[in-house]
Amino acid sequence: MNHAVSTKKYAGLFGALVEFDTPEDLVEACEKTYAEGYRKMDAYAPMPVDGLAEAIGYKRNKVALCVLIGGCTGVCAGFGFLQWISQVAYPHNVGGRPLNSWPAFIPITFECMILFSALTALVSMLAMNGLPRLHHSIFNVPSFERASVDKFFLCVEAEDPKFEPESTVSFLKTLGGREVNFVPE
């Protein structure tokens, strides 16, 4: 998230927030807002909602790619490490078996693959989401605490080129939400 852009149109304003009761209303509102030409916006829900990210124009989810890379790294690291131990660092004749007795290395290689992939899934998901972070402007709206309980929100951000306080708020009011608030930065 690049909030630290110096060319801010509205100092001290993060965006405008509208609140809904159901996920369906939120998805519909997002689609309308996107069709209206707004691009810099985000929707907030207390649970995953089908089609919500797509409705605000999100397309490419790179978590799976990161996990694939993590898993391949795990396989190479695990197998390579065992080869290095048994052929370079500590070559050791065990019952006449060859130093490269690779089938015996598969279980540990497999575990390394799972370990690396799982940790990559966690870290890449958090990193791409910009988490952990201590604060975010959206929390400045007191009613936003219901975003983790039972309410659904759409926020059009002030950075959007089409954003203008009056016209955006009056547009958001047409979406049928409960109330529209400005989000102070």
């Binding site: 609140e19 997002c30 985000d42 929707a43 907030y44 829900a45 207390p46 649970m47 995953p48 909602v49 919500l52 990210a53 605000i56 999100y58 989810n61 978590v63 799976a64 996990v67 065992l82 131990i85 048994s86 660092a89 500590y90 050791h92 065990v94 007795s101 015996a104 290395f105 279980p107 540990i108 497999f110 575990e111 799972i114 370990l115 992939s117 799982a118 940790l119 899934a121 966690l122 890449s124 998901m125 958090l126 791409m128 989401n129 988490l131 952990p132 972070r133 604060h135 975010h136 959206i138 929390f139 007191p142 009613s143 605490e145 219901r146 975003a147 983790s148 309980v149 039972d150 109330e179």
Partner: protein
Amino acid sequence: MDQIEKVNNYQLPSELIPDPGADIVLGHGLDYKMVTNRIAGVVYLPLKNSPKKWLVGAFFSFCFVNLLMLAIYVLFTKGTGIWGLNIPVAWGFAIINFVWWIGIGHAGTLISAVLFLVKQDWRTSINRFSEAMTLFAVACAGMFPILHLGRPWLFYWLLPYPNSMWLWPQPRSPLEWDVFAVSTYGTVSLVFWYVGLIPDLASLRDTAPSLLQRKIYGIMSLGWRGSAIHWHRYQKAYLLLAGLSTPLVLSVHTIVSFDFAVSQLPGWHTTIFPPYFVAGAVYSGFAMVLTLIIPLRSWYNMRDLITLRTIESACKLMLGVGLIVGYGYGMEAFFAWYSGDKYEAFMYWNRITGPYGFMYWLLILCNIAIPQLLWSRKVRHSLWLVWVISIVVNIGMWLERFEIVVTSLHRDFLPSSWGMYSPTKWDIATYAGTIGFFMLLIFLFVRFLPSISIFEVREQVHHDLHAQPVEEHV
């Protein structure tokens, strides 16, 4: 401004909430806010409003944790000689309990990962709880091999790290595979559990009555704000973690079974072990889930959140997996006969008729005979019976591990090296102590973290809202 009223002095619903029956996953009339309050409320429950049974249970578990500490202290000062281990039975309680505990962990992963992949909605209400169970069971399991080392303070020698002696562990040994399997399993289970908790911790941050709770849960929730894009990546990561945990759980108990199967000992050296161990693990794990959730849902008046449907489905799965375990027992007998190997045949004959034979038949009673009662719908709907059967299966699975470890070792090739094994009071104290440790962790978990996944229950509420009108037309 439409803020949430913070729940001060939360009390459990005073009247008994009935179970909606075996047809639906959640009770009627729940909405997003209500499920949040009900599940998070348990965490906010002041100690004076906590069920008395919780206090008594936590106190007794704590006493057993002290017993565990004492047993470990004596072990550290005197050595493994305080246990009943000797030649020929050099693997006694420590390995039996290790295998038993790690097996219990497996149903937790199965419920949260495999049932997630195959979209079983009844898992929603117990997945968080069973993941926690996995984690705590792995913690108990991990203790045993380390205590068994003789010099447990040198346990880090098992890990490959550059040391001044330039010695590296032996990567061809199943015991070394075990180190990787169990530590990976523990780590991945923790990651999976924590990822599932993040959105719920954010709910706790926003609803907790005290500032301190809001701060702690706020930090633990990592600043989660429920953005649609975040949810999208989150769901992908969760799906992948479920997909990774599934082969992991199979590999872990497979590798545990390799500890036995790769050896040359009659009774251990058999190809049926990996699938047979995995089935046994899942069997005991389902039994433990049932043992725990049946009291839990009644203590916290959660019968509409963890419904009979969940319990009945778990029973059916337990019954099914139990039959696979039964097939494993049958195959063991068949291998012993069909191999034509006289040591194999003798080992089996000794197992069922020898000095430990009564334990074998007790095991058949516990694992094969009694669980057949679950074929009856009446039995599955009688919670007391289900609870008793689940404990019987737990005992049966422990007996199975005893049989595998002890009867294969105590009479092998040469009659001159035969011997008997019996546990000492310290063996029993350590085992009972880990049960106390496990229970205490469960009690604390229920008290401090949401024991049901709140956001997944919200999804289920949403799903039910849309499913109902369709059902009415039908």
